[in-house]
Symmetry: C2
Subunit: 274 residues, 2 copies
């Protein structure tokens, strides 16, 4: 297996990509990224991912050093150089090397291919547990590199035998640490509309769902969990992953919900034919 990456214009083996110590991503946490995968060797929802990446960069005042068409060419070259049928692709852009450890001069941009870490089958079959945390991400709509919170919570998540954390602040739910959140109340599919990163899988699932369900994108209160029939989370690796327990609260009958599994099936069908 060979993974290659693009670093500021050059293509080289991933192991050879390295950032010098004056990089503002390292020194000042000033970085953003994106992450997507291929299905059948083709990047999934490329247009939407690129749009989001460009949007994150703009909100961090970083000029894109590469345009969309050229980036697509690089991504396809990197995919071709890997010997796997499907790979993940990660973009990382930082404030670049700084002469005074604070001023931005030119961003550093890396694009690499990676092994996909698939979500274990048992999680789809049994659903996952999440714990609650009183938190909301700063600049949640930007896919910045700021993930201190969930790394600090790793021990608490393990102790609770949970898989992840669901953030809420002042009684309003936003998102999981790296994925979006949905509930079903009957045939109403409800998902938070603010203080979130607008996930591409979230967007895909909302499109898929609108034929069969009433989709509501709006603020979601913590108190609404008590009469939710089903819950799930979405991300590029989690797809449509059932949530059966939130803190001490069991959702529905503690098993993956039928509407959730229907959406997972629809999603799998979509990506199978991608």
């Amino acid at each position: 297996m060979a993974y290659y990456g693009y670093f500021n214009g050059s293509i080289l083996p991933v192991e050879q990509i390295a950032f010098g110590i004056t990089d503002l991503g390292l020194l000042r946490g000033f970085g953003l990224f994106d992450y997507f995968r291929t299905y059948n060797g083709r990047p999934f929802q490329w247009d939407w991912y690129w749009e989001r990446f460009a949007n994150s960069a703009a909100k961090m005042h970083l000029p894109l050093p590469i345009q969309k068409e050229e980036a697509y060419g690089v991504v396809m070259e990197l995919i071709g150089k890997s010997s796997l049928p499907d790979v993940a692709i990660r973009f990382v852009m930082t404030g670049g090397y700084s002469p005074d450890s604070i001023s931005v001069v030119n961003p550093n941009l890396v694009m690499i291919t990676e092994e996909i870490h698939p979500t274990p089958h048992t999680q789809f079959e049994e659903g996952i547990k999440v714990i609650l945390d009183d938190y909301v991400r700063e600049m949640a709509e930007v896919k910045s590199t700021d993930y201190k919170r969930v790394i600090l919570l790793a021990q608490a998540i393990r102790s609770a035998r949970a898989s992840d954390v669901l953030y809420q602040k002042n009684g309003e739910i936003s998102e999981l640490s790296r994925s979006n959140f949905f509930i079903f109340k009957g045939d109403r599919l409800i998902t938070p509309n603010r203080h979130i990163l607008h996930g591409i899988t979230r967007r895909t699932v909302m499109h898929l769902a609108q034929n069969d369900f009433q989709v509501e994108e709006r603020p979601v209160l913590l108190s609404e969990l008590y009469d939710a029939d089903e819950a799930f989370t979405t991300s590029s690796t989690k797809k449509v992953l059932p949530i059966v327990q939130i803190g001490e609260l069991t959702i529905g009958d503690g098993k993956p919900g039928k509407r959730t599994l229907f959406l997972l099936e629809e999603f799998n069908e979509l990506v199978g034919n991608w």
Copy 2:
């Protein structure tokens, strides 16, 4: 001029120090640092800086890969290898290389020497202007690498012909972007006690001030700026730097205050004899 650094046990020229792409500081903003300087070739307040660094590491659940005495030996070796009478020393510790881009295995630790960027003389003579921002740092007491906010404000600071930003949230003042904040009301010296990084220069100045002033360490309200006679900020490079304008508000008569200049003199005397 030669700057050397320590990276996970090896000493090498700073230009040769580089972080691979799976580092959690880069990918997830999971890093902390510290920064201090020498006077007369000796690290200033080494004991206090080490204590703070160790404390930041503990709060980020990262085990220190080196103990204090060994670290001191490395710092002295790095200082010796530079050809300058005085240098800055920067520690950077991240969550290290991660197999899945989220789990911590072993931290990466770098210690390097750098050129000191001294604060311009005119700023001490004329004082500086700062703008206000409605913000408080997450985990302010930890010297994490999270400095997105001030980098995003760079243009606003320049446009206002200011030098820095003073954070306040809900009417309570915390700190400047990378330095602490003090006001004088008569002979009372007042500084925020919470939502701040506890600066080593701040601590030094509070010690120096207690002979001549009544020092109050407590929450400081934005409204208190209106009857402040003097204001200043402290950091390892700013020492005791007068602030003469905060947003549209002129402090005192718009010139550096006499008590502030007295403390600057005391500080310069202390470091001159270090």
